[in-house]
């Protein structure tokens, strides 16, 4: 009964993901037919070199990056929701994105001051390091604070402090210097390269595996800390482990695509409602797949809805994600009233 449901949901995710990938590769300023796409991708057909280059150099890396990072973001959302035992938490509530932004702002100002330029690779490294630094700060508190909601508030406060400092820096910077920063903070998958894909795959896929291996203690953790501990889970270690994995995944997203909003909150919720279970062993692959699907579609919308003007990815994810979160809040309230 529930087994057939799970099979159907996973099959649905896979089919839709494949369809979304093909659709994404098909739509654009130059439309390429599905038949051509398949022959270009699988047979390396170079007869139409323009189409070949569009697919291999522009659309495909972008699609693969969107699905990898979308999956990563959604998975990190699931982890943080497990951690807080609250389905409305998102991966960026811990102050990770604002830490990344602050560090990026500092790096940008230093780089433009010294070398008068800010290469993309430095942007990626800077935002990744910034995310990890703010994550480190959160980890310090995780060890000390027993109460989860206090940790949540601390995360939000760290966000505010970082934003304040960032704004201060921006006030004293030249507009031209911080174009990069504004661009980053909106989030986008444009200009994705295969190199980006390789690096993020190198980070995301092993992390996915580690998360999957930890699904058993995660399931016990869902019962509450007291029960998890009585079953033999090392709570302190496990909490740090959860925050660390969340941080690595969302830092990677922040570095390559900027802080994409609402995916981390909304997508795990959609997967949970479709599967009708919280079991990590099912939820981990499901949220990853669903996140990939969601981001590929949102990215497609971002670049095609108002073409040739490209929207930032967060514009689309917020427009879809925020209503889902509202619906989630209301339906939870209703359930509690029953």
């Amino acid at each position: 009964m529930s087994k057939t449901r799970n099979c159907i949901v996973f099959l649905l995710f896979l089919i839709l993901l494949i369809a979304a990938v093909i659709l994404s590769a098909h739509v654009g300023s130059v439309s390429i037919s599905a038949k051509d796409i398949i022959s270009i991708v699988f047979r390396g057909d170079r007869s139409n070199s323009v189409a070949y280059n569009i697919i291999w150099k522009i659309r495909l890396p972008r699609i693969v990056l969107a699905s990898l990072l979308g999956g990563a973001l959604s998975l990190s959302g699931f982890l943080i929701q497990t951690f807080f035992r609250n389905p409305i938490a998102g991966p960026f509530v811990l102050g990770i994105s604002s830490g990344a932004k602050l560090f990026l702002a500092i790096t940008t100002i230093i780089m433009t001051g010294l070398f008068n330029q800010m290469p993309v690779s430095v942007t990626v490294v800077a935002s990744f390091v910034g995310s990890l630094l703010s994550l480190l700060l959160v980890l310090l508190f995780t060890g000390k604070v027993r109460n989860m909601s206090i940790l949540l508030v601390i995360g939000i406060m760290i966000s505010y402090i970082c934003s304040a400092i960032t704004d201060l820096l921006i006030n004293f910077a030249n507009d031209s210097d911080i174009v990069n920063l504004t661009h980053w903070s909106k989030g986008t998958f444009s200009a994705a390269t295969w190199q980006d894909v390789y690096i993020s795959a190198f980070i995301v896929l092993p992390t996915l595996l580690v998360v999957f291996l930890a699904s058993k203690p995660m399931g016990a953790y869902l019962l509450g800390e007291g029960y998890a501990k009585s079953l033999g889970v090392d709570i302190k270690l496990f909490r740090i482990f959860l925050v660390l994995l969340t941080g690595v995944l969302s830092s990677c997203v922040a570095a390559f695509a900027g802080p994409i909003s609402f995916v981390g909150i909304a997508v795990p919720h959609i997967s949970r409602q479709l599967l009708k279970t919280s079991k990590p062993i099912l939820m981990i692959p499901a949220s990853f797949l669903c996140g990939a699907l969601f981001c590929v579609l949102c990215d497609l919308a971002a670049r095609t809805l108002f073409a040739p003007t490209e929207l930032s990815i967060s514009t689309v994810t917020s427009a879809i994600g925020a209503p889902i979160v509202i619906w989630l809040l209301i339906s939870r309230r209703r359930k509690n009233e029953v």
Binding site: A220, L222, G224, G226, Y227, S230, V233, D234, T277, I281
Partner: protein
Amino acid sequence: MKSDKLRLDSLAVGYNGVPLISDITLSLAKGEILTLIGPNGAGKSTILKSITRHLATIAGTVYLDEKNMQTIKGTDVAKQLAVVLTERIRPELMTCFEFVSAGRYPYTGSFGMLTEQDREVVKKALEKVNALDIADKDISRISDGQRQRVLLARAICQEPEVIVLDEPTSFLDIRHKIELLGILSDMAKNSGISVVMSLHEIDLAQRISDKIVCVKGDRIAAYGTPEEIFSDDTIKKLYDIECGSFNALLGNIELASPCGEPKCFVIGGGGLGIPYYRALQKRGIPFAAGILLGNDIDLAVAAPLAKYVVKTPPFMTASSGDIAEAEKLIDSVGVVIDCGCPMGGMNSFNSELLQYAAEHGKTLIRSLAELKEAEL
């Protein structure tokens, strides 16, 4: 010698290194039930949390099966000791079956997949607590009584030798309290599982436990069998009961008796006096009761509530002194209540008293309805 399943050796428990209760030494054999009782905030939960390692102990040792618990691995402890906690559980979208099956954690492989055998154990645990019918229901949508049983099932399917429960009967109505304790007692007797728990219901604690620990102050106030513990004095002291009473033998609770000199005399017997005593207590009217045989059930309620009680030794008829005493009391009041107990044979003296009251012009009340109307 029978070995102890669980033994605390001069344990000190508390928070942040500051001991709240020290020198706790007690032991529990296979299939025994040990209950902690004591006033709110006395530290019952603190002791239980220290046993289950949710709280670091400050001094002393907890032995599980004669092994120092500190030296046993977490999952190995989980195979021997399971808990039912008071912490709120609120997992999203989880069926009772899934929740209970989490108890198989120490036995399943690295992905936590349930084998056919695991499923069987989960089913049996649900069956034991009469919750098989709600196995597929969402855990957040069941009643308090059902939830408590599902929590117990989770502990049972861990196949432990010891189960620790923190106030398992709080928030349950009387039927569910009795049902839950019935399951625990059956488990202890028939499956040889030892039970440690805290209870607020001292009357239930007395009936289910093999050993009772009274927790109050910085030491264990008393520790022993229910027969040793449940003297009126221990309980009164433990809970600082200054008004009201607790009859340890019967588990009977009465509120404080009305103050002042008696305004009426109740002639009771055979349990028929009890509703009158309680009605008078509710209205705050002081009264005297008599003449009761020493073995009369009325005595258990009359003794704590009446200002004076005239009684005979068990199964003995009243002496002339008793009768004189009763007549003196009747003289001092305006109203005499006849509860309707048959009078003749051993208690024929009561009909003499009634006659005495009538002859001396006392108002006679013969029913609760009349008592309600009466001006006293």
